[in-house]
Amino acid sequence: MGIELPSFCCYTPAVMMYWIRFRWVGALLFVAGLAVFVQPAVAADDAGSLQILPDASVIECNATLHAESKAIAVALKDGITGTTVWHFQVAKVRQYWLNDTIADISVTRRVKPDLLSRSWQLVDDSSGISRRVYQLDEAVHFLSSLEQFPVLDRSLLTNGIPYRMSVKVEVHYGEFKQAWWSDIWHPAQATLQQDFRLQK
């Protein structure tokens, strides 16, 4: 996560005076902001992989989370519900300005273990489809990977222009309730990104 520091060159004298007078308050807010917003960034190579699959009409992708597989398996084996939230973002890369976001979608997958029957119910909250499996690897795979997942329609993109697909994966254990403040202090387990350019 990048942090944009304020540029002083565009400050008016009044703003500068205000800044100088309340510099301690500003310093405090800055430190507090650092404390809250600086989150650990996991290297993409270690955390997972992202592969973009441009189709004739749809841009699909294969995304895999490596970092948490063992932890997910342990939790599911112990009967703890596991949830993965995949935040997809496709943006047009701009050199001198913020990237232009084109698509921003989220996918939530949940596995509810049933210890008595030694089965795991796989639930895709986005589509509402659920099924029960009796193999732990299958449940872990369900949570930690997305295969040929359709991200957006190809018509939204232009050939030859650089784009960047970013995937932020959050893993939650136990009952998970999505809230607006979830992102504030719950860090993402992995952030994957891949630049691509569509060919004619």
Binding site: V31, V36, S117, S119, Y173, W181
Partner: protein
């Protein structure tokens, strides 16, 4: 510090120096401790401690920065703090410190208790117990499934049901057969499906109307496809049920499917699910064990911070309430120290502080009255001092401008006051200053002054008057003084002593002497002048008549000539006496200086060594030319007679702003030192034939012109200067 010497002021000062130094560093120390704690409790990146940890960290950072700022400001601020602020800071720091220490101890103890509690909660025995309980529950389910599968295996090749799904059997017969089987096996529901997943027949406990055909599940299809017996669990409105699928295998292949449902016993299932739930919760807690501990720590820390903040705020309010009157008192004291006695403190309370304020107001009131009285007295004193200074100034001016010397001597014989005139008259040495002992200072030529004082001191009369001469070695002359003394009576003033008044009466004495000499001269001239002429005439007659009758003409001529010459000399002497006795008043008129110089040049033209330098022809001098001419002749004549032919004599004039000066110089042998002091005295002469009146007359002429005749240098060259003023009676010449 003089410790042990009992000097309370010094001890207090040292304590004040030591105290603020430690207090100045206290905020920085607290900030350092807080920053250390912040680093220790900083949330780990992998942890899931939530927002509370970040709130704690943020609050501690804010507190640290505030303390840092306050500490740095304390160190940088060298000025005197506001009254009471230091006491207030001490109270707040003390209260927070008192609360902080036990809070930190409680925090540590609670953390240890949580750690120990965690170890107890997640004990291995609990872990094993839950595992076993879950195994029991799972075994129950496995048992049910196995029983169901075993039962279903017996119907895989059941001919009736194969015939039924093949359509070779009536519906009623099939239903009855299924009912029998359901009754026999204890199932709640039994259904037959053909290969097309179409329900062929079905029975269940209760009314038949509730029998509804459900689509086959994936497990059912899989069972049919694989030809294996399968079971699965299903949760319905009536509770959990075990669902079994048995493929009906014909001669060569699967021809249908038997689907049965068996309701699980509610009590057992409830217990099993409870075990599962507990196991899950336990595992979840164990999974979040670290997070729980951290959460507890941060909750405790948050509570501690809130308590400390509240304590700080309460302490601040309390300290402000307590120190405000003290601060007002200190501020008022500072103003009193600076001289403002009009300050007053509000007497708001009836406690000790109120009493202190009332006492302070009384003190300032009294101080104000005293200060006013002192100021009034000071004004009176200043007024009196001004008057005294004025009188002193008048007296000093009087004494300074007085030509009479004044000496004031106290009862101990020490000089208290002496004016400039007495210094000038007696040429007192530098050690004559106020407070000098008069008798000790009156040594040498001033012995007469001491004797006079001694006589005045020891006599009975109040006044004493004496005349005596004081020799002045520097000027090689004597000064004749008139000393008058008076004893100052102690009853008239606080001062008792002696007043000595000394006058220089040398000129007066000289004038009196001159006057006496003039009278003598006038009488001598009168008595001697008359017989001289007959004597001279008789001597000349003798020379004319009886020269031929005498034998020795030479002796006769010498005698008669001597008589005539001596008579002439006596006549000249008498003429000089007459001149000195009856010097006429000068008849002043403007005379060109060059005219007098020209006359001198003509007169002494015969002397080759004489050089007369003429001046600007416009120079004028107001004088009596006959008398000035007489002076110049006298000076030139003295120079000529005292010098040989080879010695140069110069006469020239100089004009200044106020004076016209005639200078006569000669390079002769000069004047002896002993004669210098008496040179201008009457009847003093170094020449055998001189009357000693020439320079005395010349000096008198100069004085009659309000000028002076000076001996500039006695030798090499011998230099006389006749100085006459350019202004007479206030008019410019």
């Amino acid at each position: 510090m003089a410790s042990g010497s009992g000097d309370p002021a010094t001890g207090f000062q040292a304590a004040e120096v030591k105290g603020p130094g430690v207090m100045r560093l206290m905020p920085l120390l607290m900030a350092s401790v807080l920053i250390l704690v912040t680093v220790l409790v900083w949330p780990s990146p992998a942890g899931d401690v939530g927002l509370l940890a970040w709130i704690n960290v943020t609050v501690m950072l804010v507190l640290s920065l505030l303390l840092l700022r306050y500490g740095i400001r304390l160190l940088r601020d060298r000025a005197e703090p506001r009254p009471g602020s230091r006491l207030r800071a001490r109270l707040v720091v003390g209260m927070v410190g008192l609360l902080l220490v036990p809070a930190m101890v409680i925090q540590l103890a609670a953390s240890q208790m949580v750690e120990r509690g965690m170890d107890v909660w997640f004990d291995v025995r609990v872990d094993t117990l839950l595992d076993r309980a879950l195994n029991l529950a799972q075994g129950f389910y496995e048992r049910l499934e196995k029983d169901m599968k075993r039962s279903l295996l017996g119907y895989i090749s059941d001919g009736v049901m194969i015939a039924a799904v093949s359509g070779n059997m009536e519906y009623g017969a099939t239903t009855n057969y299924l009912a029998e089987i359901r009754e026999k096996e204890g199932w709640q529901k039994a259904e037959l499906f053909d290969l097309n997943e179409r329900q062929v027949a079905g029975v269940q406990v209760g009314e038949l109307s509730t029998l509804e055909s459900e689509p086959l599940s994936d497990a059912a299809r899989l069972s049919m496809r694989l030809g294996r017996v399968a079971t699965e669990l299903k949760t319905g409105p009536d509770g959990e049920m075990a669902v079994g699928y048995a493929p009906l295998i014909g001669v060569t292949s699967v021809v249908g499917l038997l689907r049965v449902e068996m309701k699980l016993p509610a009590g057992v299932i409830q217990n099993a699910r409870a075990v599962e739930s507990d196991y899950r919760n336990y595992r979840q807690l164990e999974h979040n064990r670290q997070a729980i501990a951290e959460t507890f720590t941060h909750v405790m820390l948050f509570v501690t911070l809130v308590v400390v903040l509240l304590a700080g705020l309460v302490g601040l309010l309390f300290a402000r309430r307590l120190t405000a009157p003290i601060g007002d008192l200190a501020y008022a004291l500072k103003r009193v120290t600076e001289g403002d006695l009009d300050v007053e403190i509000a007497e708001l309370s009836q406690d000790e502080l109120g009493s202190l304020a009332r006492s302070f107001n009384k003190m300032t009131n009294r101080l104000r009255h005293h200060a006013e009285a002192i100021e009034q007295g000071q004004q009176d004193l200043t007024h009196a001092l001004d008057k005294s200074r004025q009188r002193q100034f008048v007296l000093e001016s009087l004494l300074a401008n007085l030509h009479t010397g004044v000496l004031l001597v106290d009862g101990d014989g020490r000089v208290r006051l002496l004016n400039q005139a007495v210094r000038d008259i007696l040429h007192l040495p530098v050690n004559w200053v106020p407070s000098v002992d008069l008798l000790q200072a009156s040594q040498g030529n001033l012995q007469d002054i001491g004797d006079f004082y001694n006589e005045l001191k020891h006599q009975k009369e109040e006044h004493l008057q004496r005349e005596f001469d004081i020799s002045l070695p520097e000027e090689s002359r004597h000064v004749h003084v008139l000393a008058r003394g008076a004893r100052l009576n102690a009853s008239a003033s606080d001062f008792s002593g002696y007043l000595l008044v000394i006058d220089d009466i040398s000129e007066l004495a000289e004038a009196q002497r001159n006057k006496a000499w003039a009278e003598v001269a006038r009488r001598l001239a009168h008595e001697i002048k008359n017989p001289l002429t007959p004597i001279k005439l008789s001597a000349e007659r003798l020379q004319r008549r009886f020269r031929v009758q005498v034998d020795n003409h030479q002796v006769f001529d010498a005698c008669t000539q001597a008589i005539i010459a001596q008579v002439e000399r006596l006549q000249r002497l008498i003429a000089d006496f007459s001149t000195l006795a009856r010097m006429p008043q000068p008849k002043i008129r403007e005379v060109p200086v060059n005219v007098l110089l020209q006359e001198m040049n003509d007169l002494f033209h015969g002397y080759r060594q004489v050089e007369v330098r003429f001046c600007d022809p416009h120079w004028q001098c107001p004088c009596d030319p006959d008398q000035v001419r007489q002076v110049l002749i006298n000076l030139m004549d003295n120079a000529v007679s005292a010098s040989s032919d080879k010695v140069a004599i110069r006469l020239y004039a100089v004009l200044s702003d106020h004076w016209v000066e005639w200078h006569v110089e000669d390079d002769g042998d000069g004047i002896e030192e002993a004669a210098v002091s008496r040179l201008f005295e009457a009847y003093y002469s170094t020449k055998a034939s001189g009357s000693g009146l020439g320079l005395a007359i010349a000096k008198r002429i100069a004085e009659d012109h309000h000028g002076e005749l000076l001996l500039v240098s006695a030798a090499a060259p011998t230099h006389f200067c006749l100085r006459l003023p350019r202004q007479v009676d206030g008019g410019e010449a």
